[in-house]
């Protein structure tokens, strides 16, 4: 896809029929919204980095915490998270292929690729829910923690994680896990819903009648943003 430069001189620019940067208002708005959302996630990740480096001795090693894999009894560090990353990247690829098909007004291909994107997104949300489940339930051995019970601090073996105490490390570790992955998962979920709505519109032929598939491109921007955030969350939360 290339942006066709529409030549303007100072005389004709005021004649109307042109838009700043040669993009529609919808696409421009989506870009600026994504900048604001990116800054929100950046704030969260910076807060996480701050906390993580405030307590470097006790911060759990994510390779020790996230070791589960579906249908496998052993411990493989970060394997499932790596698979989730792969699924989301693949759904991003299928989304951009849908956008490209839209540029050729190839409705059938748009349908195929968007459907795959929706399925990939749904798989990611399901996987994240599975991760949350195992994070909350925890391991068999648990860990000894100071818990405030009946007005006193007592030492108890804690399994899994709640918002106030977890077996992996400081309470703030679980807090950040829930908040960052939860906020991102919420974005993925809303992205799946939005993709579904646009997909239905594609099937109904709304965009054929409209003459262009720019709506697919706009939701594609949102979906790629979701993938981009995950790339950063994956690096800062699970790897570093």
């Amino acid at each position: 896809m290339s942006s066709h430069a529409v030549e303007t001189d100072s005389g004709s620019a005021w004649d109307g029929g042109k838009s700043p940067f040669n993009v529609s208002y919808g696409k421009l708005f989506m870009w600026f919204f994504l900048v604001s959302d990116a800054l929100t996630f950046s704030g969260l990740l910076c807060a996480y980095g701050f906390m993580r480096h405030k307590h470097p001795e006790v911060w759990p090693n994510p390779g020790d915490v996230f070791t589960h894999f579906p249908f496998y009894e052993g411990h493989i560090p970060l394997a499932y998270v790596g698979l989730m990353t792969l699924i989301l990247i693949m759904s991003s690829v299928t989304m951009v292929l849908a956008v490209e098909a839209g540029h050729r007004k190839d409705r059938q291909k748009v349908i195929v690729w968007m459907l795959l994107t929706i399925i990939g997104g749904a798989m990611f949300v399901g996987s994240q829910a599975w991760e949350w489940y195992h994070f909350i339930v925890g391991t068999e051995h648990g860990a000894l923690r100071s818990v405030f019970v009946d007005g006193k601090w007592v030492e108890q073996t804690v399994h899994g994680a709640t918002m106030t105490v977890n077996e992996y490390g400081l309470p703030v570790f679980a807090n950040f896990f829930f908040f960052i992955t939860g906020f991102h998962g919420f974005h993925v979920f809303s992205g799946v819903i939005i993709n579904l709505v646009i997909f239905i519109n594609v099937v109904k032929g709304t965009y054929e009648r409209r003459g262009h598939y720019e709506m697919v491109e706009k939701v594609g921007l949102y979906w790629h943003f979701v993938d981009l955030v995950w790339v950063f969350v994956f690096t800062f939360f699970y790897l570093l």
């Binding site: 838009s19 529609s24 990116a38 951009v96 490209e100 921007l221 790339v231 690096t235």
Partner: protein, 166 residues
């Protein structure tokens, strides 16, 4: 469903390309996908083997080298996603900058401020939960000596001692 047309009719035609241009575009997109896949796998391998490659500190936090590697690879992936998947690389120059400049300025400021001003938090470290410190130290000791304390450490993360199992 009522007919809807944008106010700027040329958008209906400008955002389209021919079949050949489409083939080239698709090829490039799949190329970017393979790059992303390889980079992700490399990141995972490095994460997996960081300990045995000496990229971790004594307390099992990441060394500066490792941080640079991961952040560099991640920014590389981000560049590909934004410029190719989101097509920002194909947009007008000033749209690119309208999107990137505010973000870059803010993120550099944010990170700089946190790094510069966060030293006050060291004062709080004495008030940390002793239990957690002891358990983490025990974990580090166990990882060093190769003893399978909780069975969670993969074989690669142990120093090469022939894997003594008692």
């Amino acid at each position: 469903m009522s007919e809807f047309h944008d106010d700027y009719p040329q958008y209906e035609f400008m955002a389209q390309h021919s079949e050949e241009a489409g083939k080239k575009a698709r090829k490039k997109l799949w190329g970017v996908f393979w790059i992303m896949l390889v980079v992700t796998i490399v990141e995972l391998i490095i994460g997996f083997k960081a300990h045995s490659w000496g990229l971790l500190n004594e307390d099992r936090t990441s060394t500066v080298t490792l941080k640079f590697i991961f952040i560099g690879l991640t920014i590389g992936k981000a560049f590909f996603i934004v410029f190719e998947f989101m097509h920002l690389g194909h947009e007008r120059k000033w749209l690119k900058w309208s999107v990137l400049a505010p973000y870059i300025i803010f993120i550099i400021y944010l990170i700089g401020i946190i790094v510069q001003e966060a030293n006050y938090s060291k004062v709080h470290k004495e008030k940390m939960d002793e239990l957690i410190v002891n358990q983490k130290n025990a974990l580090n000791e166990a990882a060093k000596t190769g003893h399978h304390a909780e069975g969670e450490h993969p074989a690669e993360s142990h120093p090469a001692e022939g894997g003594e199992h008692h």
